[in-house]
Amino acid sequence: MLYGSFVYNNVRHMKNKNNMKKKIALIALTIVIGNFVYGQKAENFDYKQGKSFSLQMDAFDFMAKGFSLWGNYTFNYNRIFLDGDINQLPDFLNSLSDDFTEKIKYFIQAGYYRFIKKPNELFIGVELIYQQMKISNKSTS
């Protein structure tokens, strides 16, 4: 009975120990993630040193009878974005534009920007764009 109780207590102790380890790991993970998400933000009131989320629209799309919405997430000198867009901008640079009309039906783009000197000024970046074009032949349409 005593032996059984000892084993039971040991097993319970081990389970408690495992649970405690899990709890400590969970708390540590929460602190790490929390620090990553909110830490810099709290320490640096100036958003330029921390993180921010912004919504943007492209003014040129209005001129091209369109509309766009950009979601930007900026952290330190880095910005990632996702953009959805429709407009009626013709592809006037195409050498075949005398015979065909091409317009963007919609496009989706994602990209990364890197601010050069300060987090809110000059930046360079790379974008990946999928464009769904609508093409018609001028002679048959």
């Binding site: 100036d46 919504l55 629209m57 790379v126 764009i129 999928y130 464009q131 074009m133």
Partner: protein, 71 residues
């Protein structure tokens, strides 16, 4: 007819915050040179030529943005 085009682009831009008293508002002009990764010819039965989306695409824009969040 519809045609899908996949492009990669390099971008140069400048984020400008015109009002220091309201720094949530920004104006961001940018220029971008786009190069095709995937683009195919589109066949038109009644036309003498097929159509292919331009290989080179130079685009510029001006984003008007509002930043969300406390700081």
């Amino acid at each position: 007819m519809e045609n899908g085009v996949l492009r990669i682009a390099k971008v140069l831009g400048f984020e400008w915050i015109p009002f220091k008293s309201y720094d949530k508002f920004s104006i961001t002009p940018w220029v971008s040179e786009r190069l095709p990764l995937y683009s195919k010819e589109v066949y038109f039965p009644l036309a003498a030529k097929n159509y292919k989306t331009a290989d080179f695409n130079f685009v510029m824009g001006c984003n008007i943005g509002i930043r969300l969040g406390k700081n």
